[in-house]
Subunit: 650 residues, 2 copies
Amino acid sequence: MTTQEQLQRWQELAQQLRVDSIRATTVAGSGHPTSSMSAADLMAVLLSKYLRYDFDNPDNPNNDRLIFSKGHAAPLLYSMYKAAGVITDEELLSLRKLGSRLEGHPTPVLPWVDVATGSLGQGLPIGVGVALAGKYLDQLPYHTWVLLGDSETAEGSVWEAFDHAAHYTLDNLIAIIDVNRLGQRGQTELGWNIQAYANRARAFGWQAIEIDGHNLQEIDQAYSAALSINNRPTVIIARTKKGKGVAALEDLGGWHGKALKPDDEKQAIAELGGERHITIEVDKPEEQSQPLRGSAVAPGGNPQDHAASSAATGNVQPLQLPTYEIGAKVATRRAYGDAIKALGAAQPDVIVLDAEVSNSTYAEDFAEAFPERYFEMYIAEQQMVAAAVGLQVRQYKPFASTFAAFLTRAYDFVRMAAISRANIKLVGSHAGVSIGQDGPSQMALEDLAAFQAVWNSTVLYPSDANQTAKLVEQMSDRDGVVYLRTTRESTPVIYGSNEEFPIGGSKVVRNSERDQATVIAAGITLHEALKAYEQLKNEGFTVRVIDAYSVKPIDMQTLHQAARDTGGNLVVVEDHWFEGGLGAAVLDAFVGTSSIPIYNGPQLQLIKLAVHEMPGSGTPEELLHVAKIDANAIVEAVKSQVRQPAGASV
Amino acid sequence: MTTQEQLQRWQELAQQLRVDSIRATTVAGSGHPTSSMSAADLMAVLLSKYLRYDFDNPDNPNNDRLIFSKGHAAPLLYSMYKAAGVITDEELLSLRKLGSRLEGHPTPVLPWVDVATGSLGQGLPIGVGVALAGKYLDQLPYHTWVLLGDSETAEGSVWEAFDHAAHYTLDNLIAIIDVNRLGQRGQTELGWNIQAYANRARAFGWQAIEIDGHNLQEIDQAYSAALSINNRPTVIIARTKKGKGVAALEDLGGWHGKALKPDDEKQAIAELGGERHITIEVDKPEEQSQPLRGSAVAPGGNPQDHAASSAATGNVQPLQLPTYEIGAKVATRRAYGDAIKALGAAQPDVIVLDAEVSNSTYAEDFAEAFPERYFEMYIAEQQMVAAAVGLQVRQYKPFASTFAAFLTRAYDFVRMAAISRANIKLVGSHAGVSIGQDGPSQMALEDLAAFQAVWNSTVLYPSDANQTAKLVEQMSDRDGVVYLRTTRESTPVIYGSNEEFPIGGSKVVRNSERDQATVIAAGITLHEALKAYEQLKNEGFTVRVIDAYSVKPIDMQTLHQAARDTGGNLVVVEDHWFEGGLGAAVLDAFVGTSSIPIYNGPQLQLIKLAVHEMPGSGTPEELLHVAKIDANAIVEAVKSQVRQPAGASV
């Protein structure tokens, strides 16, 4: 039983959290005090009694994890940090100011924040990733706590998380829904119908506990029940009032995302019993001996069995990348499968996820070799990317694959992953019209644009199997969001297995002393460029061919040299929409920025060959031809720039 | 009761659908016969008895709608078209060939296909949009039937659809889940646990009917029960076998997306009783007098009340766009709200959707004026965009708004909307670092890149309120995916209300005879460019300033003229990541394509000012400055190009 004294202390802390949420937002002049106040009791009990967290060592593997999926309640989170004694009152009042670590929504600029939130419906699926790491990889008893708002349960991604958490029996995951009834613009869809939330959660296989979110005893009991279950995740559905504790705010519309004016603030703080400056000692986790990486059990297996299981236990081998003979026909997606399996043998922290197409992306090779480090995400790309973000919180290196077209499903998660400063690797197969008969719904034609426009991203697009293997190796240690585009079709191996392909580099595949133009290609179109080279050569035209396998960062120096050497005549050819792809990356290499001067060689004469019309079905060759990105189109483009063969121009 | 004769006829038709699915895919050499065969019985009964469809007139407003959410079962759909007598056997066998209307996955290249499918989990949310139109706008008794695969229920978007369909009591929507247990790579997450599907559906408020999907009588009864309910949507959960009817395929792994070899085909067809060429007469809908557009009831209201309700009934007014005085400070999002309300008064087919932020996007102005044409989509951006696609199937003009950053959540739906040749209008507010204190999770910095890389899209980014109003008007009749980016901050009105802003145009806002450079901006940065103009002018530099409000299509001619007039000195400045935004659009205006010759004026000296570092919180002014996209940065960029003032260079 909870003692009266405990309840009293929790109550005091909750009021402090409310007061501080108000104070910080009033000074900032913006923010979400009322959304913080509804969850203050929930968080006061969590911080005081249940959270196991070593604030001095956020990387302690035994730490519980706390994710504010309702990121707009950041003032509450920051007030908890003050209560835990890790930020000062002064820093609390720097909320939302330029240079402050206390941004409008939480980001990992703060050492205790693992992932950025603020795009609703993402915290729970990310929590699934952390809990997967905890249960199956770390095999440590920490818990992952996720605070959700009620409105965000309308996001399908939340139900992907409910589905996957139950499937993987994540009893170490506890979701808390702050059902304060009021969204940004009025009543939420379900209002205070906490029974409806509970029914849905139970149908998805969760333990659901309905409570009054302002009754400290009920909160205490709910947390206790959540910790004692051992076969499924728990959701605590807490009926709360937005703006709780201040009559002028409580359960009233029109107060979402509004700071109080200083006068109203004074009144509100008085009503809440005044300012407090309680500091509490948050319990640290018990030290556990962390199992060796690679000693995990197959998901779905029993973690207790880990000593007896696992192909990978202690079996770390030096990296032996697959190699392919020049001239063999191998799809780069096939090479990805081989390479990721090789990487898995050498690096026990490599984890693979796939969205039920592992037999197409060839992630299945890894899954068969290392079932304990493979997580099937079914057809839920948002959850897949979120899980990758969650896994890297625990320092794993997740590679997540599906058809490149379907990664667009998770674009908001990728955007947020960048804000989380997450290190994740995404692999998209079946890019472009060259997939052929399946038609446009399966063709990624916007992926290069989408992934380039992600902060600090890397975009790779190999043209051959040996190159793919070398790039997959480099992805492993590359920071940020790293995207690899692979090709469905088998293409000839053109590079020896000893060649190097540094990220940021390129390969000049054909060149001579008197190149008249440069053709820049990557992936499938490189092979068209090579065919065009032969045709042009037969007609006396000499062209340079560059393999721009590193789309971002792009090899500016080699492109500039080529422009200088070939009179500014550049032809870029890509299996992608006209906008934002390889051609855009090449163009960007020639502009100035506030820190890079403008290219000053001969005037660019750049032709971009890319997909303009909506494709249908057809053979890969037919579709490349119709889209005018095949060898013929390249030949024509070069000829339109270079009117005469090299011989004639001498 | 179903007669034996009926059952016999349905059985024969089902076998024909199976045989034809096999024949078409074998000739094609690829495709999904087994995924078609599992649903053949379900579709045979639907086509024979329940579907009301006038194949001669696909636009008949009384037609039922049939969406194959499991688009890979396209061979089954096309076999149904053959059975309905609208395609020949010869055309059926053109499946997946270049130029055939029968693409690998269904697209509206066929007149009876309303929307493209093939990215799983989209058909049901689109069906919600069609059903919203049917119940609340058309107020016609047609039904929307959606065939889903079991694997795709892992997509969160499916649960957004379950949620919204129940919320809007869409008793005219019938989902059929073909639970054939086998996904692409093995067993699905839930296998044949149809009880689990039913529990989830019921928890979300649906009538769920569990049946044996190969028992024609059970199918018949289920459809009948679905049609007789009048307060909620129905899902029929059908336990089926993949490859049903052929022992070598039935319920076996390894057969997803594989065509039979000719020899195996022969055997399979024999097992199914041989080829048939049955043609059936599909029942046409009863003719209904279609209610006038604009006579709808408020969603949630009773459709029977429509005669008495509706502010808009018959009240169509000539368009009176809002106007703003030059110098007033008005946010373009505010102008969007005013303009969409004005448009609503003049055009009864304009429908507005918002994802629970209508008080920020100002969609609420429309919602208040025309509640019967406003659909609250709560925080479910995928469902919102899908609903827009569904509404335009019935010729409505949907405008869907949320924070621009959160439209990334629906990027796959936007991609597919383009393949659907859908005419939808998307409005993203709160773009760029200039939103200020809320921080990066709320800042769209990739939206211009993402939306440009959509086939046949239009991308608009107004800088002032009068311009916004004029653009909103043009959006209404513009085909394809049309995106409008609005700004959170209030900015000065700089244009008169009589000025015109054609899509594809631009405005030269400042120019003179001897401009030394051109600054190209849009939206918030145009105001920085104007400040920079003044600063530069004071120092003797003369620059041209172009407002590129139409990012796609961009005004190539005006840009070329400016490059010619100002010695190729261009500075592009945008509140967007460096990649894929306005700067990319400007660069694209200067390249050649297979149909457009290369620009041949003076050499471009282009500086792109865009966001490079991850922003935090701060005031809009601070963040524009830190990102180096403010007036100061523009001044510096111009000076780096144009070393001396115009006077000095004379």
